[in-house]
Each structure stands twice: as structure tokens, then as C-alpha cells.
């Protein structure tokens, strides 16, 4: 039986038509992947399913009954739960409190039953993260993005409880490492076998192939195609997503084969050194990191989640305190960081695209708003940011397009050294290829780049050299040609 | 009721209005919520009916807010009333707006507190130093010229109360047997702040051990606050307490002996004379530069005197229509 049926849903925000008559059927006991470019309307559709937004037109049913949730509480009563794309934990509450939020076990007069809460929460946590992986009394705000993501998945499971029919996962693995992601998919399979319908929004076509039973592609707010990902060739799916061939760019599909990867033109010993780290140690991580970065090269940093990659980048930039060691910057035009936490510290969500791109500590004393806007418009077309114009609030953009805005800002600054933390997180295949090509191109123009990514294939195909970070200790770097994904994983996990 | 409308009964009667319309006088007190100002208001209304003029009664929005009063005066000047009757919150700061009024040919009568300069027509008020001295002499008499005395002041920079405090302190300091143990605490604008201050002050001076024999407070809110503090800590009747101004509660306390004396001004008369003087001036009569409205000491004994009674309980209802 169909667990969730969505028919002819339309939704617009002001002048922007986001969904233009979407139909979607999800069966019980299946994992249904929803694919599409950045800004295609995937998250909006899911938010409507959860009652966070309300469709302008169209109907839905759950388990055959009409379904029109006014709010997430209605959705939960009907057995629909979701892990949204952006992080939504209460930073001041601890892990347990976050997981049982809204479903707190309680006695008469609403008095909390703490023991029951701990039991419910630890059970849910154990399912997604394994025993003891996450400290249950830590405040959510103090945890890494990956851990927060796991807590959120646990929360959705706990909230659904026994009566859950539909679980919506909006890019659940975007900030997870491989082992956490694997465990999650194992979990998803078990849930599916117990009769649950799972809607999976993702940009990882590999995951779709391995874990989904069916897929539906959205483009410009309309359904463009659907089928069985195990039989449909990846090229076809990509074509449905983009409406054109993915020729010149390397998509995820062939990047995995290492095909168009960049090799062997590493700058010679004579290239100018831009950055040198001498046994740098931060407050907790990194513990001893030494590296040199030369003009024109991309240095990859691999590591498991929590190994301290983000801290390393922050220490280099001076955002975190360096306890010992030395960061020697010889780059004349300085360094810039692309944050992995774009909502938290990457972007001013309340302000326009143009203003975000123009944000800089440098520049002339006086600024001209119309120049800023024109500049913004130029970057929007350069990186094909899907938006209504340079004046649109960044907070109203889809996740992937927000990421592009962040990149545009770095490019505009014309730094010599770019520290990029998970640059392809949450962006679609075409944009992903575009971003990686862009990095290559920038290196070609003489920039030095440090690339942190959880996508090992990305590292192998894009970098000149790769170093591995293991619990805060950075290994010596080796040419990318000497690595492949298995070797990196082995090194990082050993 | 609406205290701001032209006083009832002034419309349609008589035809004495000048050719350019009826005379409209703005009366600007320092505040509106103390009973003192209610009586002034009543007196002003009485005068307005007698001499057939319209009055507008308008205090600063916040009680005792200097800037607000300056703004009210200049707004009336801009509006172009016939005359302004003003109780200035400061003797210098109101000089400029009053000068402005004079330039706009709007005469000003000052009442209650003085104003520097001579742009105003007349000054109608109590002599506050003398009134304070009245209180000081009474306390000395009650204490037989010896003991410890406490003053709870009203507010920083308020001239009329500072004059009363000064008059009181002058009188007390003239007696070598009397010692002022505290005179640097201010009760602030409201009863509640005066009460909290008074309570803490009594404790700090160990009043319960008999270390304080006499108390003076210079206006209604400090007097009432101090009265409450004495009552709440069971120290009423244990010391001599002379306050200033009157209200039902204070008169009740006087009768019960919790207050040993109240210096009262004659606010009704003040309001009456101020408006009358202004009307006289506007109609071309000659008016005195200084008009004293008098102050007297009220005690339990003279409370029933008809003269005192009239000052203490003017018939507000009749004039304000409440």
C-alpha cells in the first residue's frame, strides 16, 4: 500500500514558483530517493509533507487517509517524521533533552520522568550511532556538526516511535563520515524491512544506487523522471536532473572511476612557498601538524569525523588559539576560509546575496550599493546561483546555492591561500564538479589550496598531495597518485 | 471628568470676551498626581469661573521632568495662548521658554517656585525657607531643644524642597542641643522609593533603640513614605515627626498622633491667585510683583480651626467635578 501520496502540490514564495504540480508516491517498505539540482524544490516539498510549510494547492494522503498537517505535531500524529536539511537542535539542551523534545515522558501535571527519557533516547541513539559514541549529557551546541546530525536522526526515530509510517531524511549523510553513514543506511534498511516508508533526499548517486529502491527526480519544481536506480544508468539520472548532458564536467559517476582526475602537474620544488606549519598544536586539536603549501598546489586533508580537520583550518587562520608551534604565512594576498557550517558562521542569512559576497575587511573606504549589486549579479551568473537576483536574502536560498554564495565571496577576495572545508557538502553533482574544477583552475592560476573533504574520491581526484589527520596528528603528505580511497580510509582509521 | 477641557460653566455666560476671542490661559504645574496639585487645580478652576476665562491644565508627562516641562511651555507658546501660568521646575532652565513667551507677547505668571529674571509678570508662592523654619522650630519645641534629628530629603536639584530643608536645618542648627545625624539621603519621586529609603535609614540609624528623636520630610511623598516606614517598623509615636503638605492619610495620621505636625501651604489659594492675577494683567489691571500665599503649621490641636480646615480640605469636588 502507498504510505505517502503527494499529488499536484504547488507552492510559491512571492514571485518564485518553487513547486509546480508535484506528484510523488512512496510505498511502505521502500526507500524512495528524491533527487534534483540545488534549488529544485526538494526541501520545500519535504517541509510541506511535515507541515512546516503549507502548499498553495494539491493534496496528500498518508496510509490512504487524507493528510493536511497544520504543523509538525499533526504530522507526527499521522506517523510522519523528518530529519531536516539544516541543523535544528536546541543548542542549550543536552542530547537526551533534544531527542525527547516534544515527546517527553511525563507523569501527572506534566512532571518529567527522567529515567524513561534516558531510556527512550539511548535506545534511539544506539540505533544510529552505536553505544557510547555520543556523550548523552553534552550540550548540543558544543558538539561537532556530525554528532549533531546523528542526534537529529536519533530524534526523528524516537519521535516516530512505534507508529511511524514515513521517515523523511533530507540529506542525512551530507555531514557524516563513511562509517556513520554506513551505519545509518544499515539502520534505514532495517526500518524499511519493518514496513516503514523512507524518503531520502540526497546528492550522492552512489548511495541512491546502493540503498534506494526507487527514485524520483525533481527539476524546476516538476517531476522529471523516476525509476529503479539499480537499473537506470547514472547518465540518465543526471540528464533528468540537469536537463542536459554532463559532458565537460566530471560527475560523481565517473569521478569515482578516477577518470578525469588531475594528475602529475604538481609544481616543481622551485614554486614559492605560501604557508608553512611547524608542529602546530591547538588547545585540543590539532596536536602536531606540520605542512608546507606551495603556489599552484592543492593539498588534501583526509581524516575521520572528529579528527580535528576543521580545528586545523581554524588554527591556521588564527580563529582558534595556537598553543605551540608556528604558522608562517608568506602568501602576499592572505588566506580565506570556506566554513563547513554555512548557516552558523559562513553566511549572513538575513542579508542579501550581494552583501554576503561583498563582505570583506578590506576594500575602499566608501562603497557603492549599486556596484555591490552589479558585482553580486556577476557572481550569481558566474557560479549559476539559482536566485531571484542579487537582492534576495541568502537565508531563502536552497542549501547548495548558499554554498555557492560562500564560494563566490572567497573568489572575490582573491586570496592566495584558500582553506576549504567540505566545499561540496550539500551541493548537486553538476555544481560539485563545477566547484572542484574551479579549485583546480584556481590552483592553475597560482593559488595554494588546502582541501578538507569527507569525500575521499574527491580528494584523490582533485588534490596534488594528500595528508591524513588522525586524532589531531597530521601525517606527512604524499602525492595523490600514491593514494586511493581504500588506502586513505585505512590510514585514517588505523 | 476631563480636567483639561475649559472649566465647566464658563461657556456662554457673559459677553466679556475680548474681540479676538475668549481668553485662554495655560496652567502648567510641576506634576499632576500629588494632592497638592489637585488643590492648585481646583483653585485655578475657581478663579477661571469667577473672572470668566478658559484654562488648560497641563503638566509635564513625567512627574517633575524638567525637559518635559520646557517642551510643554514652548508648545503652548507655539500654539499661541493668551497667557501662561507656570510652576517652574527650575529657576534658570525655564527662563528661556518664558523669555520666548514674552517675545511672543504672551505674559507669564510664575507660581509655587521662583524663576530668575524679570520676564514674568508676577510671582505667587509660599516662602519655602520660612515654611521649613516653621517645621524646624516645631521640632525643637517638641524635643525641648535636644536630641538627634534625621532629614529625608526629596530629590536632587528640586529648589522648593531644598529651601524647606534649608529652613528646617537652619532652625535646628541654631539649637546646640539638637544634632542632625543624617541629612544626605534622598527619598526620590515616589512614595515607594521614599518608603524603602526611610525604612533603611531608620534601621541604619538604629532608630528602634531611641537613637533618633526627630524626623523631617519636605513634601507629601517623602512624608507619607516615612510615615509608612515608621508604622511598618513599629516606631511611630516613638519619635517626633514633622512633615510637609497634607493628604487624607496624613491628616488621619496627625489625628492618631503618628505625625506630630504638618506644614501646609495653601495650594488652593495659590492656584486661585495665580490665575486671577493673570486675568487681571490681561485685562489691563495692575498686579503686584510678589504675592505670598502663606504657610502654616497644622497640629492635632489646631486641626479643627475653621481657617485650617479650609486650607486642609478645599472642596475639590465642587471645582473639579469629581
Amino acid at each position: 500500500m502507498n504510505a505517502l501520496v503527494v499529488s499536484a502540490i504547488e507552492k510559491s514564495f512571492g514571485p518564485v514558483d518553487v513547486l509546480r504540480g508535484v506528484d510523488l508516491e512512496v510505498h511502505g517498505s521502500e526507500v524512495h530517493a528524491v533527487l534534483g539540482e540545488n534549488g529544485a524544490g526538494k526541501s520545500t516539498l519535504m517541509r510541506i509533507v511535515l507541515g512546516l510549510e503549507h502548499a498553495d494547492r494539491g493534496t496528500m494522503t498518508v496510509g490512504g487517509k487524507p493528510y493536511a498537517p497544520r504543523n509538525p505535531a499533526d504530522a507526527r500524529r499521522a506517523g510522519v517524521v523528518m530529519v531536516p536539511q539544516e541543523r535544528t537542535l536546541c543548542p542549550h539542551l543536552d542530547v537526551i533533552e533534544n531527542i525527547v523534545l516534544g515527546i517527553e515522558p511525563s507523569g501527572p501535571l506534566g512532571v518529567l520522568r527522567e529515567k524513561d527519557a534516558v531510556a527512550v533516547a539511548t535506545r534511539a541513539l544506539a540505533l544510529v550511532a552505536g553505544e557510547g559514541r555520543i556523550p548523552i549529557r553534552a550540550r548540543a551546541g558544543a558538539m561537532s556538526v556530525a554528532d549533531q546530525q546523528l542526534v537529529e536522526i536519533a530524534r526523528a526515530l524516537a519521535q516516530g516511535g512505534e507508529s511511524a509510517r514515513v521517515l523523511v531524511l533530507d540529506e542525512p549523510t551530507a555531514s557524516l563520515g563513511k562509517s556513520d553513514a554506513d551505519r545509518l543506511f544499515e539502520r534505514v534498511r532495517a526500518l524499511k524491512e519493518s514496513g516503514l516508508a523512507v524518503v531520502l533526499v540526497t546528492h550522492f548517486l552512489g548511495d541512491v544506487r546502493d540503498h534506494a529502491d526507487r527514485y524520483t527526480v525533481l527539476r524546476d519544481g516538476k517531476v522529471q523522471g523516476s525509476g529503479d536506480p539499480k537499473t537506470a544508468p547514472p547518465e540518465q539520472i543526471v540528464h533528468e536532473m540537469l536537463g542536459r548532458e554532463l559532458e565537460s564536467v566530471r560527475g560523481e559517476a565517473d569521478a569515482a572511476k578516477g577518470g578525469a582526475g588531475y594528475r602529475g602537474e604538481a609544481p616543481g620544488g622551485g614554486a614559492e612557498t605560501l604557508l608553512e606549519l611547524r608542529t602546530v598544536a591547538g588547545v585540543a586539536k590539532p596536536r602536531a601538524a606540520s605542512l608546507t603549501l606551495k603556489r599552484g598546489e592543492i593539498l588534501g586533508i583526509a581524516g575521520l569525523v572528529g579528527s580535528g580537520r576543521t580545528e586545523l583550518l581554524r588554527a591556521i587562520l588564527g580563529l582558534d588559539r595556537v598553543k605551540s608551534g608556528e604558522v608562517v604565512v608568506t602568501a602576499p594576498r592572505g588566506m580565506g576560509l570556506l566554513s563547513e557550517d554555512r548557516g552558523g558562521e559562513g553566511l549572513m542569512l538575513g542579508r542579501s546575496i550581494a552583501e554576503n559576497i561583498a563582505l570583506s575587511p578590506r576594500g575602499p573606504l566608501f562603497v557603492n550599493p549599486s556596484h555591490t549589486r552589479a558585482d553580486g549579479a556577476r557572481w550569481i551568473s558566474e557560479l549559476s546561483v539559482r536566485s531571484s537576483g542579487p537582492d534576495q536574502r541568502v537565508g531563502d536560498l536552497s542549501g547548495g546555492n548558499q554554498q555557492k554564495v560562500q564560494i563566490a565571496r572567497l573568489l572575490r577576495e582573491d586570496f592566495d591561500v584558500l582553506l576549504v572545508d567540505e566545499p561540496t557538502r550539500g551541493i548537486d553533482v553538476a555544481s560539485k564538479a563545477q566547484v572542484l574544477d574551479l579549485l583546480r583552475e584556481l590552483a592553475g592560476k597560482g593559488k595554494g589550496i588546502i582541501l578538507v573533504s569527507s569525500q575521499l574520491d574527491e580528494l584523490v581526484s582533485t588534490c596534488d598531495r594528500i595528508a591524513v589527520l588522525r586524532r589531531g596528528e597530521l601525517s606527512a603528505s604524499r602525492p595523490a597518485t600514491e593514494w586511493d580511497e581504500e588506502k586513505l580510509l585505512l590510514e585514517a582509521a588505523s | 471628568k476631563d480636567s483639561s477641557k475649559p472649566a465647566p460653566g464658563t461657556d456662554g455666560e457673559g459677553g466679556a470676551a475680548p474681540s479676538n476671542g475668549r481668553i485662554k490661559i495655560a496652567v502648567i504645574p510641576k506634576g499632576t498626581t500629588h494632592e497638592f496639585w489637585k488643590s492648585v487645580h481646583a483653585g485655578a478652576v475657581k478663579a477661571s469661573r469667577e473672572v470668566d476665562v478658559d484654562i488648560v491644565w497641563k503638566g509635564p508627562l513625567k512627574e517633575d521632568d524638567l525637559k518635559a516641562q520646557v517642551d510643554v511651555v514652548s508648545t503652548f507658546v507655539a500654539q499661541g495662548v493668551s497667557g501662561i501660568v507656570l510652576a517652574p521646575l527650575n529657576d534658570t532652565a525655564l527662563r528661556a521658554p518664558v523669555k520666548q513667551a514674552a517675545q511672543a507677547k504672551i505674559p507669564v505668571v510664575v507660581f509655587d517656585s521662583d524663576l530668575q529674571g524679570d520676564d514674568h509678570v508676577s510671582f505667587v508662592a509660599t516662602d519655602n525657607v520660612a515654611a521649613g523654619k516653621l517645621a524646624g522650630d516645631h521640632v525643637s519645641k517638641l524635643l525641648n531643644d535636644k536630641g538627634n534629628v534625621v532629614v529625608l530629603r526629596y530629590q536632587e536639584g528640586s529648589a522648593s524642597t531644598q529651601n524647606r530643608e534649608k529652613g528646617f536645618l537652619d532652625a535646628v542648627k541654631a539649637k546646640p542641643g539638637l544634632k542632625v545625624v543624617s541629612d544626605n539621603q534622598y527619598g526620590g519621586a515616589t512614595t515607594e522609593s521614599a518608603f524603602a529609603k526611610g525604612e533603611s535609614l531608620l534601621l541604619a540609624q538604629k532608630a528602634e533603640t531611641g537613637a533618633v528623636n526627630g524626623i523631617f520630610t519636605p513634601n507629601e511623598s517623602t512624608t507619607f513614605g516615612m510615615l509608612l516606614a515608621l508604622r511598618k517598623s513599629n516606631m511611630h509615636k516613638k519619635m517626633k515627626f514633622v512633615g510637609f503638605d497634607a493628604s487624607d492619610k496624613l491628616v488621619g495620621a496627625l489625628k492618631e498622633g503618628d505625625v506630630d505636625g504638618l506644614v501646609v501651604q495653601n495650594p488652593f489659594n495659590m492656584g486661585y491667585l495665580a490665575v486671577k492675577t493673570m486675568a487681571d494683567h490681561l485685562r489691563g489691571k495692575k498686579v503686584d510683583k510678589r504675592i505670598d500665599t502663606g504657610a502654616r503649621l497644622v497640629t492635632k490641636d489646631n486641626l479643627e480651626d475653621p481657617a485650617v480646615k479650609e486650607v486642609m480640605q478645599p472642596d475639590l469636588k465642587k471645582w473639579l467635578g469629581e
Binding site: 509538525p72 542549550h92 512532571v111 518529567l112 | 489637585k38 512627574e63 539621603q185 515616589t190 493628604s247 492619610k249
Partner: protein, 318 residues
Amino acid sequence: MSALASLRTMRRPAWLGPFVALLVVYTIFAIITPEHSFLRSQIFLTMARQSVVLAICALGMTLVIVTGGIDLSTGSLVALTTVVVAKMLKGGSSPVVAVATAVAVATAVGAFVGVCVGRFRLMPFVVTLGTMAVLRGSAIGLASEQKIDCDPRGLDHLLEASLSAPGIWIALALAALVAIVLGYTRFGRHVFAVGSNEAAARLCGIDAGRVKILVYAISSLLAGIAGVMEFSTLTVGDPTDSVGLELDVIAAVVIGGAPLAGGEGSVLGSVFGALLIIVIRTGAVHMGMPSWVQYIVTGVIIFVAVAVDSARRRRTRS
């Protein structure tokens, strides 16, 4: 090892800072007052009595601030309550009816503010700024621009500087009640969640609007009770009473460790904050400091309390 780790991650109670500040300030005053008169039990009781209004208001304000809101109408509401009580008593109502009416009026005002903030998503600062003016005006108008004089009919004994006066015990009981609600009930948890991340709370099915309506209603109910206590002290209805009280109340809550951004706060901290303010005030009068020195001392102590608290937090975090 794990025990040690759990010790380190254990949260330092939020009220510790204000409690230490209170102790230190009290001790300093006790030492420097002549003959250590600051230690007399009567002083203690008087300070307890003086704290009652501030502390009861701070209980409600704690809830409001934890949701990330603010309430500027507290002072006006207290004044209005004294006026309503006095007016009813004067009109011949029994004390019970007068008090019940006044508290009901206050609660209704709070519910209205809550609806504006919770349902119509108006900024609490502005809504309560407007409410503050409207309530002050209503109080003055209701009292015909005068203090309302009436027979307090026993209400004046509600709050006195004596252990037998019910006021102090009522305040303590209310503090315990609010602390329990905030710390041990679903509603309390939702209050924190709404203040911490409203979107997350909504996602989890919490009706954030309802939580806010309740919070403002409770807060105003408490302000109403505080107003009754204020009436008990004044024995008149005073429409000009408690101007600026809200700033003291907010200061108490903030000193008590609740940032205005919401998501954090503790009832105990706020109560200590209120006590600290009263101790400073009483101590200053006690020392015979001129009023301007009192202002400066109060300012500096607010300052130091928060600076020290913030330094401690930073140390704990890193």
C-alpha cells in the same frame, strides 16, 4: 577516567555565580558597617521584605527571558494592580475579591501580550514598551491622577518585616513552584526549547506560540501578586509607583545568569540576583553613603558581577 570526564562535562549550576556575588557583597557590608550592625536579624528581615516585590517579578521575568523575550511592562503592571486593589477596596469589595480581580486583570494583560508575541510574532520589546505606556496611562486614569486612599482591611499585614508575615513565605513558595515548573515539567522543558531554538521546538511539534502565551500570562500573574504585595506596603493605590521597576527586575534575572538571548536561566539565580540588588541598596543607605555614591556602587557591582560570571564561563568552556 570516565568519572573524571563526566565531572568535567557536568554543568556548573547557573546560580553559583550570583550566589557567590551575594555572599561576597553581604560579607563586605557586614565587615565595613560600624559595629557590624549589618548582621542584625532585623536588617535581615527588612531586606527580605524589601526583596519580595522584586523577587516575585523576577520569577516571571525569568520565564520570559528564558524564551528569549523581555517584558518592560512589569513596573506599570504593578502600579496598575495597586490601583485596582485600592479602587475595589474603596468601592467596598472584600479584600479577597479585590485581590482576585487585580490579579485576574494582570493575568489578562499578560495573556494579551503573549498572544501578540506568540501568535502574531511581534517583538516582545516593542509590544511590552507599548503595554508599559498603556498600563501606566490606565493606572493614572483609573485613579483620577491621584493616589487612591482606602482602608487596607488587613492587606497591609500581608507583607511586613517579620517572620509571621505571610508575604515572605508566599514569595518563597512561589519561587519553589516556578523552579519546579521550569526544571521538572514538560512545560518548563518547552520553555527552554523555545528560547534555545524556536524552529527546532516547532519541528518537534511544540506549539511555541502557546508556550509564549502561557509564559507571559504567568509572568503577569506573578507581577499582579507582586502588585498586591506592593499595595500591602503602600496601603494606597499609587499610579506613579514602580517606575523603572522592570529594569531592576531584568537586572536581577541577568545577574542571575540568564542571557537575554534566551535558552538559559535559573529561578534560584534570579532570586539571588534580586537579593543582591536589595543588599546593595540597603547596605548603601546603611553606610550613610550619599545617593550619588549609591548609584555608582550599584552600577559597579552589577558590572563586576557580570564580568566575573562571564570570565568564569569562558574559563569553564575552554
